[in-house]
Amino acid sequence: MTSMPDTPFREEAHDRRRLLMERSRPGRTGVTLPASDVPPQLMPEQAMLRDDLQLPEVTEGEVVRYFTHLSQLNFSIDTNFYPLGSCTMKYNPKLNEAVAATPGFALAHPAQPEAQVQGCLEAIFTLQTYLQEVSGLPSASLAPLAGAQGELAGILTLRAALDARGDGHRRKMLIPDTAHGTNPASAAMAGFQVISIPSTSGGDIDLDAVRAEAGDDLAGVMFTQPTTLGLFDRNAIEMCRVVHEAGGLVYGDGANMNALLGRAKLGHFGFDVVHMNLHKTFSTPHGGGGPGAGPICVTEVLAPFLPGPIVVRRDDGSYGSEMPAQSIGRCGASQGNFGVLIRALTYISLLGGEGMLNISGNAVLNANYLLAKLRSLFELPYDRSVMHEVVFAARKRAGATALNVSKRLLDHGFHAPTMYFPLVVPEALMIEPTETESKETLDAFIETLERIDAEAAADEEFLRGAPYETPISRLDEARAARRPELRWRPAEE
């Protein structure tokens, strides 16, 4: 840090950054233990803490202050605008939390007999049917515990279906060059050979490149609609047809489902498997704080291979859970991340069909508002209406690179957009406002970007020093990656 004026306030700010170990003073303690009323027991040597392990000696008050200050440094959707592209950082209604905390849900145990948890099972069953409706596919598994796990489970389901019909030799998986990095990773983990497919100059998948790979070794394609460019891919239906005709299957990455809710169903495009991120589209807690949930929906043909368990309604109206006949297996110990599923169910039930239309409508409207207002500041690599997010290239103003603009946004209390992704757009700034932001918030964001552009115009170097107002200033990213210091060490004596 640069030196700071020696004011009481700044001293306190400095104090806040001191780690617990740096606050330690010999002999200080946070607890008073009662005198032991049992004879001391000898402990085996290996059960003792290592002598060289330093522990902080601090009072209870110091510990509380330390962690409270840390928590105040949190940046979250509950405090600020969070336009992180492709992440759908929408506001998470507190009603979700209240319903998930209902004792009947929160205190249920996975090992309880089915007869005692009929309500919980009915809730899961209902969410299965809602997600089937959203995806346009007839079968769902809520077992996957996160988006990436859902992706892997979905692609393993696809592979199991190919193997079962004697198509185990099909190993080529086509993935557009705009795809999320998890797509090739999931395909490779499932034993497929990844073939990268270029995009056309208009931002759609290159059908000729797909046709060139459409042979009897084609396993399928992994595809995101709308794409990570925020564009509705106009070739999606034809791509599905070409892949199916060659005997392949189509995997749909539902990461961008927020743009389509209630308006288009991926199943109707021809997708065979779709995963959805409940923590994106359906307002459950995101990242770090998770946990996530990545349900998958499939066609009738793929249903026997789904991960389990899956909740079924029996003829007598009761609910039970079953493993599909040729299931790829379990994703975890019990019924997915149940608390997350309840939050998503609450959200969908709260909003209803009409609400789903409003979500996608306002998400797309907000993204296009930003496109219209910001296109004078940045290059627009694909000049057409966008869906739920807009990708700019920050190349119009020297010094105002994607990184520098993002860093300066932090000074104004905005989370940075996604940067340098998708890889096909140089200096990419990927902005996803979501439907939950007001016009006032969007206008404040636009004005801030205009001000940042003016700062760069006045002084090319200025943004390179940003952020200036955050607790930690510009980090040396290269050094942090090359020589990471991952734990605290005492200062050299």
Partner: protein, 126 residues
């Protein structure tokens, strides 16, 4: 942007330098390191591995992204530059010299003729 005349170039921004003993030195171009930004990690084949022209031979990770490395030549890897593994910044500081990646015993030295010469590569990145 520096484009030395003494070597050949692939469209994927790797260079191949024919050495006197018939071996070929391989690295990434000045243009490539500039586009990548600060390189933080390099994954390379091991001595004895086979590499194939235009096929992936490793990965380079910068603060911006992970990119694939494609071999400009087919053959057997005879040496790997351990210095760049320990100090990936060499790729930024000296892409054509100290930041070389692998040394290859080529199957067919004439394969280099299929690569771009310096003026053609300079035109490609213009």
């Amino acid at each position: 942007m520096s484009v030395p005349e003494d070597r050949r170039y692939s469209k994927e921004h790797e260079w191949a330098l024919a050495e006197r003993d018939g071996l070929v030195l391989v690295g990434i171009t000045d243009f490539a390191q500039h586009e990548l930004g600060d390189v933080v990690y390099v994954e390379l084949p091991k001595p004895g591995d086979r590499v194939t022209q235009n096929a992936q031979m490793g990965e380079v990770e910068s603060v911006k992204a992970v990119s694939e490395l494609f071999s400009p030549v087919s053959g057997e890897v005879t040496a790997v530059n351990d210095d760049v593994k320990n100090a990936p910044e060499l790729l930024n500081e000296s892409p054509h010299e100290k930041g070389w990646l692998i040394r290859v015993k080529p199957d067919d030295p004439a394969e280099l003729d299929s690569l771009l010469d310096a003026p053609a590569y300079a035109a490609l990145i213009e």
